[in-house]
């Protein structure tokens, strides 16, 4: 599935902090991630997992800390960095009134990728979306919408995946699909930062864990 391979990449964050609603959630957070590795974010609700993911995606401004990509310090607004990201948030990120296929076509067009049915078919098959992709998104269940979101991330051909609780609303089969897709991505040289409550079915060697519930400063 997908013939995209990524050359060696490196992401490093140092000194990151965040303030939400006038309260400091975190100070001096640091981590490094290399090609083929996944960073698992754990923590109770409200610990700041989504905030970290959104900051990495460039949706939240950085009030403290430094980001480096491939050894060079960048800002989240730099185009070169933005083009490496695929972000999956809490919501589907797609319109209810359009069908799954139309949503995927639009999302890929926004990322500058032409729609290739031959390339998309195996991905949809792996995520068990073949029957539902042509129905309007509003008629699908939460789990099916989540898998469509994952399909979007896979088809975007971006090396860095930022996934915010991708396993929420997924049944066991869906969770297995997610594990397969992630493993394939990491094997191809990509990297992922995943926030999850349940943990991922990935080999220990490939994952590092960052627990945001711990005392307010953490490194990993």
């Amino acid at each position: 599935m997908g013939g995209v391979a990524f050359s060696s990449l490196h992401l490093a964050v140092s000194g990151w902090g965040c303030v939400r609603n006038g309260r400091v959630l975190f100070r001096q957070l640091a981590f490094e991630l290399a090609s083929g590795q996944a960073l698992v974010l754990k923590g109770r609700n409200g610990a700041g997992k989504s905030t970290l993911l959104r900051s990495l995606a460039g949706l939240l401004p950085w009030r403290a800390g430094a980001l480096s990509w491939g050894g060079q310090s960048v800002r989240t607004s730099d185009a070169a960095y933005q083009q490496q990201l695929a972000y999956l948030g809490h919501q589907a990120g797609m319109s209810d009134a359009l069908t799954g296929l139309e949503n995927l076509q639009f999302a890929l067009a926004m990322g500058g990728i032409a729609w290739n049915p031959a390339q998309a078919a195996p991905v949809l098959h792996a995520l068990a979306l073949n029957e539902v992709a042509s129905r309007p998104l509003g008629r699908l269940s939460q789990g099916q919408r989540r898998r469509l979101g994952l399909a979007r991330v896979v088809l975007s051909e971006r090396p860095v995946w930022l996934l915010d609780e991708p396993d929420s609303s997924l049944d066991d089969a869906g969770g297995a699909c997610l594990g397969q897709v992630l493993a394939a991505h990491l094997a191809a040289g990509g990297m992922a930062v995943v926030a999850t409550h349940h943990g991922l079915a990935l080999p220990q060697a490939l994952t590092r864990t960052l627990d945001l519930s711990a005392p307010r400063e953490a490194t990993c």
Partner: protein, 218 residues
């Protein structure tokens, strides 16, 4: 990418026609209410016609734009817009332009009908169409700016309060143009002012809307 945005807007409008047509229906309704309320005095109707048309157009634009970003923000697609490859002001400009074509262009088609209802002569209606064509894009851009600034906040009143002061000059110039035409005077100065407002709006508002959208996502 721009074609993709237009295609998406058209598809969404086709699947949810109520949103797109609500502005048109509102315009026609408000325009028809005044003659009913004020009586059939044709001289009076002809005199108030420019003002009534413009106020109805302004309110119709404001009514529709409130929902411009709301649904995209609620289902998370706004985040994907911000993360897209193209510059956000450009995407925003295309989206507002597509919305103008879908929701506001019908107003221009309905305006002559209303104009005849008010007893306006053909020359005045022509100027009315020109003025609306120049003025409603600026109004759409301003309404989009208000919608982006107040995204996620409850209550439509704040949106109106922010947008109204900036749209009053367009209202005045547009109505003035049609009044001049009705009196047989030249409408070009007022139309040029409308064009100037449009140029200014096109230059400034897409960037401001993009900034406001990023703020709303923080």
């Amino acid at each position: 990418m721009l074609k993709a945005v237009c295609l998406r807007e058209v598809r969404l409008a086709a699947r949810r026609p109520a949103d797109a047509l609500s502005g048109l229906v509102f315009f026609v309704m408000v325009g028809s209410l005044f003659p009913l309320a004020l009586g059939p005095d044709s001289a009076l109707l002809r005199q108030i016609a420019p003002g009534v048309m413009w106020v109805a157009a302004l309110l119709a634009v404001l009514l529709g734009q409130h929902r411009l970003f709301e649904s995209d923000w609620a289902d998370g697609s706004l985040e994907q817009w911000v993360l897209a490859q193209a510059a956000l002001p450009l995407l925003v400009g295309i989206k507002v332009a597509a919305q103008w074509l879908i929701a506001v262009l019908p107003l221009l088609i309905a305006a002559p009908l209303l104009g005849w209802q008010y007893g306006m002569d053909n020359a005045s209606i022509a100027v009315l169409l020109a003025a609306l064509a120049l003025g409603t894009p600026s109004l759409s851009l301003l309404a989009a700016l208000g919608a982006a600034l107040t995204l996620g906040l409850r209550g439509q009143l704040l949106l109106t309060l922010v947008v109204l002061p900036l749209s009053i000059p367009i209202l005045i110039f547009g109505s003035h143009a049609v009044t001049q035409a009705q009196l047989g005077l030249a409408a070009e100065p007022a139309l040029s002012l409308l064009g100037a407002c449009l140029c200014l709006a096109l230059l400034v508002t897409p960037w401001a809307i993009a900034q406001a959208l990023r703020l709303a996502l923080e």
